[in-house]
Amino acid sequence: MKELFGQFVERFSGLIIGDSQADRVVPPTGFTAWLTLFSAGAMAFLAVFALALSLATSRLADRWGDELARASTLRISAPEGQIQAQTDAALKVLKTTPGIASARTLTSDEQKALLEPWFGPDLPVERLPIPRLIEIIEEGDGYDADGLRLRLSAEAPGAVLDDHTRWRKPLISAASRLRLLGWLSLLLIGGTMAAMITLAANAALSANAQVISVLRLVGATDGYIAQAFERRFTLRGLMGAGVGMIAGVLATLILPSTDVAGGFLTGLGFQGWHWLWPLLIPLLAGAVAYAATRAAARRTLENMA
């Protein structure tokens, strides 16, 4: 294990620090360099958005899953003369129900705010026969919804309990699917980058068949020859992905911030420590470039033997 770790450290430092003389042995190849830089940059740029999508949907699913699961709404629809009495009765029932932390009636302003997106501002709520809304916040393992409905039907017949289950489940499911799609996109981006770099590395190796033949003639091992290509493509992958990642992060910065309406698209981006996630993209791109070039070099050298 210790020996393996030593080999890894030696290989990694060799890859990063390099050997200026060994680097010169393989001639620079223009188009493969640009192909690697461009594909790594473009893929890193796209990866930032896929990552942002995954993290945003993850946040959304958490919020819908946690916060909304803790809240329910009680709607009281009754004739004007009975509405206050039924509201008081319902509040009394709620206060004595285990698993409910608090229950409060929404104010006229809050109800106005809820209706504003549909009816516009200055809605005379108090003159409209709209139902009274009570916000319920749960605690612990929550309450027994069926039992509560039974009690409410006796004390406040106009009360309808909505525990958000109906619409929360498909939303959470949609958010989870989006998150999965985000991660799948990241995998596809990584795979595409590996394919592009393999293509570029194969082209570079084929273009340098004569160089490889000379290196073998003078006693170069396959490991030495492969490393010359691995280092070059890994550094190009790192560099291209670094530029692409910065561009992607700048692009997410200019996206509009979350508005009060909580629109999904306006919340697409990074929050808090999630800003550190994009830093992993160039490192992963470097690792993908290294693995792809190593596999291509080994295969080509085997075929050339």
Binding site: V25, V218, G219, A220, Y224
Partner: protein, 225 residues
């Protein structure tokens, strides 16, 4: 050192070499001759592990070449200096860098090897051309650079394939003197050539064994040379 025992080599359905036995003793000097296409280059390639025999056994430094993996063969080649007729340089590197290539690939510290390198470049008469690129060299300069590259690791064996093929008589004599000088330093030398004049010129300066490939087999050539 290098030993071939009943070696045969077939290519494209036809047998190119048959029942070849050869032993390169330390410090010996060999000429390998024969008409073009006789298999001189193939035999040299068998001697440095670039080709594997289709029958028989090739031993490189007491190890059967078939038991060696590619890295083992690479390490064995550091003990065998090869000079090709077409030289094979890396055209983007200077002459000096090309000569130093075996040191570079074996991970030697160039700071320590700098003096030896300069001395060698001087010895083959390429001091003024050290910074030139290979395509800028004449045929003779290329051959001398290839020879310098072949000997920089101080190999035990030097295999030269038509080293005087592209140079004039004067230059071929100069290259021959360099190879004889290396043999006097204790190196084993084998030169594949169809230039009988070169062999005659060498025989007055060095005790050389002349081998000829004829009808796929290796024979000792003698009186006619």
């Amino acid at each position: 050192m290098i030993e071939l025992e009943n070696v045969a080599y077939s290519y494209g359905g036809g047998e190119l070499l048959s029942d070849i036995s050869l032993r390169l003793q330390p410090g010996s000097f060999h000429f390998l001759t024969g008409p073009s296409g006789a298999g001189k280059t193939t035999l040299l390639k068998l001697c440095y592990g670039a080709l594997f025999p289709t029958a028989g056994q090739v031993q490189l430094f007491d190890r059967d070449v078939r038991s060696l993996d590619r890295d083992d063969i690479a390490l064995a080649r550091r003990r065998i200096g090869v000079v090709h007729q077409d030289c094979q340089f890396l055209n983007h590197l200077s002459v000096e860098e090309n000569i130093a290539l075996p040191l570079t690939v074996s991970g030697r510290d160039m700071l320590n090897e700098g003096a030896n390198l300069r001395e060698l470049v001087n010895w083959v008469g390429l001091k003024s051309r050290a910074e030139a690129l290979p395509p800028e060299l004449s045929g003779g300069e290329r051959q001398r650079a290839a020879l310098a590259r072949a000997v920089i690791m101080s190999p035990d064996v030097i295999l030269a394939d038509e080293p005087t093929g592209n140079v004039d008589w004067e230059m071929s004599q100069r290259l021959l003197r360099l190879l004889i000088e290396l043999n006097r330093m204790g190196k084993t030398v084998m030169i594949a050539t169809h230039d009988l004049g070169l062999i005659r010129a060498a025989k007055s300066q060095v005790q050389a064994r002349v081998l000829r490939i004829s009808n796929r087999r290796l024979q000792l050539a003698g009186a006619d040379l």
